[in-house]
Every structure is written in structure tokens, then in C-alpha cells.
Symmetry: C2
Subunit: 219 residues, 2 copies
DNA sequence: ATAATTTATTAGTCTATTCTAACTTTGTAG
DNA sequence: CTACAAAGTTAGAATAGACTAATAAATTAT
């Protein structure tokens, strides 16, 4: 059984290996807000448990086993978020911190029951896929709003940041999953977009646009 | 903020001070399955946080502050048990271990929401009172089945042990909260009782009878 | 291709929580 | 009132996880 600390390292490793599969000690240290030497020693420990592949001075890689165990934690996190929103009435901006704690609960029946009560959902309240029980994660083919072009009509489908601040910002602009967005203009310098959300005109910074995943529904 | 470990000591202290208010290091050590020296040093720590009153070679006492913080943990435990049974469909024998973990979650809104969804319950699924937000705990005036006499008609109102084994035993005898029990005979030697539960006759050991709290409803 | 910068590792320390072994106090049985 | 058992404490060590300072390897930039 992995400790809470080990679980947090695994989760961070999975989160950081979206692209390259390989994660530097430095990135991991920054992500976890922990110093590099601490990370190095934890990598040795996780390697001895066959959860990561580790060699001195090389980036780290989750093993199949490590990837699976990490995905199960993510599964518990996202099921919890869904449960908090759908069954307990929380807003999508309130659930991250609670789920961050509940994801470490050791009780398969607890999460199975959530899953069942929710009707075996595929997506969490932020549009991220809920890994299945074997640890498989399937993302739909979304694109970042920041990669779309002027005139496109888009549907907001997922957000890449679940912090309360970011989600409160989206709430204040009436941006929810499913909301339609039309790109009226793009500022070439910094990627700021002028968009239409329903009848409202809004300005979204480049940073915000990078965190919004959309489906292109331009007719 | 208290650590998970500290919280477990506080809870144990509260559980053991039902009668005398004072708890011996030895009892605490046994209850937590931890050696006495470890307990001693934790008592010094809790004393420095003004959670217990501690003097060398004397039994320990929760301070008002300690009692309150312990009760809040018990509140979270019992609200969770109630939620698991009422809103998630678990049996009363399945919820203790899960609640044991969830009671340490740091999120007042999470427990407030449970409370609200449950309609502000006063009792948990085992008949124990749920402490209020200030930490006040009010037990109804139950008696132990083991203290009742032949011919009494009783209503099972609470159980003093929430272990899965014990509760599965009660399930197998159709004993639930609210069930009526008539004492047909008491074995003087060991307190074994012959009882009627509905139309069924059952034998309950003295140990079991001590764990059952009842209301006397003899006509 | 060599210096400068960044990244990673080693070595040693710290805190929280636990343990064992040895000693001290308290309380009780004659 | 003593002697012994039970309860409690002290001292010293272990483990997990985190840190800092110093060193080493790898990368980048001239």
C-alpha cells in the first residue's frame, strides 16, 4: 500500500507526463513544491517499488504499474468531484480541494458506490475523463481555444485548471461546459480573444484561452 | 491544526473518558495499540497545545478545548456514517472503517452539506448522538440490555460497538434499531439472555447484551 | 570546445511518530 | 510498613519525509 505522500508523487508524475512520458526531477519538484533532493530520494523509493523507472541524471518515467496506480487515484479524485457536484450540490469551483483529500481514502466500495449512484459517468465536472477501473484514460479530441481561429463557433467542453479562482472567473463570464463561444477577434500580439458568449461580448486573455478545451461546431 | 495522529489521540481520549473523565496512560495505550512511552510523549505535546491536562504519573484529562476538538471529529465521523447509510445505501456494518478515514477531512462545508442533506440528524446509524457544531453531545437515557430484567419489553435504541463482525451478528438475528425485544430468561451465571425478537427466540451472550442499549417499553 | 548555467545527487540535519530497554513511582497485599 | 507488581517515565534508536549546503553532471551559449 502506498502512503499518502507516495500517492501524491504518483499523481504528479502522471499529470506531468501528458506529453513526453518522461518527467524531469526539476519539474516534479516545482509541481509538488518540494526541493529536488527530496524528489530524488523519493524516486529511488518508488523505483524500488517498481512504480517508476529511474536512473541517475535522467528523467523519470512511470512504469505500467505506476501509471495504473496513479490513474486509480485520479479516478477517485474525479469520481469524488462528480459526486460533490451532482449529488451534494457543490459548485465546480468548490470541489477540487475536497476531492484532493478524499482521493486518498482506502475503500474500493466507497468509490464503486459513488460510481454507481452517478450512473458510471465518463467525465468529471471539469470535462476531464474519469479513468476506468483498470486505469485507462481516454480524452476526447478537443482543441484549445487558443488554437482556434477568428469566426469559429465552439462549445466549451473541458477546462485545464480546476482552481477556485479560475472557475469563479469563468462563472462570472457565464462560461460553463456546453456554452457556445464565437471568436470575434484575436489579438496577434498576446493571443487575447474577443468572443461572443450568447449575447454578451467578452475579452479572454491568452492564458485563459489556453486553459479552455473546446469542440469546433462551426457550421 | 492538529495532525491526523493527534486527532486520533483526542478521539481515543474522549471515548475513554465517558465515565471518569480521567484516562490512564495505560488504557489509552491499549485503546490505540501504541506503547506507553509513545503515549506519554504525545500527552506532553497535547498538553503544550492546551488540549489535555497532564502531570507526571497522573491520569490525563481533556481540557474544554480538547473535548471540543475531539467532539468535532466524532461529529464528522457520525455525520459521515449517517450519510453513507442514508444517502449512499451502505449497511450499518459497512460504514465504520470508511468514516474512520473521512472524519479527518478538513472541510467544514463538506460536513455542513452532509448535515443539511440529511436534515440535521441527531443520531447516527448506530443510535449514537451526533455532537452539535459546538461539540455538545447529548445521550438519551438508555439502559444496557444486560441491566434489564426478565419479562421486560425493550426497544433496541443504540449499539455500543460498530465493528462489522458485531453488526453482522445483529443482522443475522434481525436486530435493528427499533426492534422490540422481550426478555424470556436470564442465565444468572454469565448473564446470557433468552429473548424473543418478534416470533423468533434467540440466545444473546452477556457480552452482546452489554453492547446493546435499549429503551424500556414494558406496558 | 570551453565557460557558464541549469539540473541532479550526496551528505548531513530536522521533525513527527514510533519503538525497546532500563529505571522510577505508585499502589496494594500481606 | 515493606516488598512486589503495575503503571509511568527517561533515554536512545528507527523510519518517513522534508530541508540546506556542497558537489557533480549535463546543457547552453558563446
Amino acid at each position: 500500500m502506498n502512503s499518502l505522500t507516495e500517492e501524491n508523487y504518483l499523481k504528479a508524475l502522471l499529470a506531468l507526463s501528458t506529453n513526453s512520458d518522461e518527467v524531469s526531477i526539476n519539474d516534479l519538484a516545482k509541481h509538488l513544491d518540494i526541493k529536488m533532493p527530496t524528489v530524488t530520494s523519493m524516486m529511488k523509493k518508488l523505483a524500488s517499488k517498481k512504480l517508476v523507472q529511474y536512473e541517475s541524471y535522467k528523467p523519470v518515467k512511470l512504469t505500467k504499474k505506476g501509471k495504473q496506480e496513479a490513474a486509480i487515484i485520479v479516478r477517485k479524485h474525479r469520481l469524488t468531484e462528480m459526486f460533490l457536484v451532482e449529488k451534494m450540490g457543490f459548485g465546480w469551483e468548490q470541489v477540487h480541494d475536497i476531492a484532493e483529500q478524499i482521493e486518498h481514502i482506502k475503500s474500493p466500495p466507497f468509490f464503486d458506490k459513488m460510481d454507481e449512484l452517478l450512473g458510471f459517468p465518463k467525465l468529471d465536472p471539469h470535462g476531464s475523463p474519469i479513468p476506468d477501473k483498470t486505469g485507462k484514460i481516454v480524452w476526447k479530441h478537443y482543441e484549445k481555444l487558443s488554437d482556434c481561429k477568428k469566426g469559429d463557433t465552439l462549445m466549451l467542453s473541458a477546462v485545464l485548471n480546476s482552481s477556485a479562482d479560475f472557475l469563479k472567473f469563468l462563472n462570472s463570464r457565464n462560461l460553463k461546459l456546453g456554452t457556445h463561444i464565437i471568436i470575434d477577434a484575436i489579438e496577434p500580439f498576446d493571443g487575447t480573444m474577443s468572443v461572443s458568449i450568447g449575447k454578451r461580448k467578452e475579452i479572454l486573455s491568452g492564458l485563459v484561452c489556453e486553459k479552455l478545451l473546446v469542440e469546433n461546431i462551426t457550421h
